[in-house]
């Protein structure tokens, strides 16, 4: 099976770094971006299997990024996990509308993130095989 690709978007380099290490240690290929615009461009180009993005980024916010992804043919089906430091940043309604798979609040556990990624990708694989 080809290495699964994860796109990580966050303006905090330490967060990007720790997630990258965790995922790489567990067999994932990781690409990263520091803002929404770069993340979108990278997503279109590289077509990752899953995207992990921060809620708050300079310029385009995480929510705006997901909206853009959903409007684009290439990227509309890529599952998204959102990291947020604010408890009530995204309402349930919005989460459903934007098809965000999971909301993780900061401080988050890299272990849990990994588990979420694996669960989501597994479910996708199961649905695809049906």
């Amino acid at each position: 099976m080809a290495e699964r690709k994860v796109l990580v978007a966050d303006d905090e380099i330490h967060i990007v770094h720790v997630v990258t290490i965790k995922l790489r240690n567990n067999g994932y290929e990781v690409i990263s971006a520091e803002n929404g615009a770069d993340a979108f461009a990278l997503a279109c180009e590289e077509k990752p299997d899953i995207i992990v993005t921060d809620f708050q980024m300079p310029g385009m916010t995480g929510v705006e990024l997901v909206r853009k992804l959903r409007q684009n043919e290439t990227t509309k089906d890529i599952p998204v996990i959102m990291l947020t430091a604010r408890g009530f940043a995204v309402e349930d309604k919005e989460k459903e509308e934007l098809e965000i798979s999971e909301l993780l609040s900061k401080p988050f556990s890299p272990k849990e993130l990994l588990r979420s990624i694996e669960d989501i990708l597994y479910q996708r694989a199961v649905m695809r095989n049906k």
Partner: protein
Amino acid sequence: MKSVRNLYVIATSVVAGSLFAEGLARWYYSGAEGGLRFAGYVFVWPVCYFAAAVGVILLGWYWLRLTGRITSIIRELKADKTSRIKSGGNKIVNELSEAINDRFDDNSGYIAELEKQIKDLQIQIRLSQGQKRNAEAIVYSIRDAVIVIDEFDKLLMANEAAGKLFNFDYKSSQYKPIGELVSSEKTKAGENGFVDFLCQSRQSKARHTRREIVFSNEGRSRIFDCIVSCVYGEGERVCGVVAVLHDITREKEISQMKNDFVNHVSHELKTPLASISAYSEMLVDGEADDEQTRKEFYSVIQSQAKRLNRLIEDILNTSRIESGLIKVEKGPVSLTILIEEQLQMIRSYAEEKNIEIIGQKPIVFDQVYADKDMISQVIVNLLSNAVKYTPCGGSIKIETEVDEIAGLARVSVTDTGVGIPEDEVEHVFDKFYRVGANKKQAEGTGLGLNLVKQIVEKAHNGRVFVTSEAGVGSTFGFELPLATAEAVKT
């Protein structure tokens, strides 16, 4: 006068007596002889007639006296309507006088009673008017808008604030229908809502009802906390309502700002915490294979912990100054000396980056009236920012000017650093604001400049300023009142 009455009796008796005597004599002398008759003619009849004449004169005199006394009573009555009659004359005249005086006394008493009642009523009227004026003055003096309407939705009273808010003359609009005064043509949306609210409250008979109402006036939107209270007349009948509108626009803004601040702080604090937590977990789970990686992780945890600490310190400082909790201890302070002190401390940091620092002293007296520690903090923040955001080999200049005419001392720190884009310059003093492009250049909490602004402007009545050009450099500075100017003020 007894004598007059007696006179009447005497006169009447004399006349009667003489007439009788005359008759008697006539009878006696009708049969008498020549000589006796002659005696009679010469003596008796003249006496009788004389007596009769005397009697008539006396009667006449009595009559005159009587009419004279009555005339004087009439004169007294006409001349002075407020005094009693001095009694005079005989029994009848006296009785007349007394009767008139009694009537007079009764009337006087009655008039006095009426006058007293009138005076009482006048006092009451004046008191009522005074109370009414007081009530009006009380309502007029209230800063909140107050409107009183009756059960027919007509305006009873309004104060100046209400007049200004709804655009009508509050003194001359009594009894006009409230719907007319608060028309939607004069002000924008919300007014009909207000009139409806008044009517609903009145109909509901509830003691107090409260609602937030938004008014747009000349493009500005203002929010009011409106409380409508019913005024009860006899029984449970509502005879009117009083509406009080309190402007809470500012309070709402502040509440929103506080909310934003809390959200912002929470985000800022959670970010370094997230790093600490994630890296710790990685270490615990053995995700750091080699020593190099482990050292890297430890170092991140350490630096983020420091960052968290600085953040907390800065937030607390800013909050304390903003809420006035920190005691500002002002005294005459020489800016030159403070700057010199801070320059000493920053020189080694600057030397690491090969940055030249030039200090320029003013030639005149530069004492300001300020808190030494706080101004030191301001200078530190400005200098360290300058060094942080200036690449290696650059230069920083700090100069102090004194404007004696304006009574100000001005300190500016100019660097040849990365500068700030035009559209971001106005935000640099905002809480947590960090210029996007410069985030890589250095670590920061986004609170340093805000602290500078709080200290200079809030605690010292000064002014901060900034000019910048991206890629060229920036000048940050502050102005403070000179010690002499401040001393004169206090």
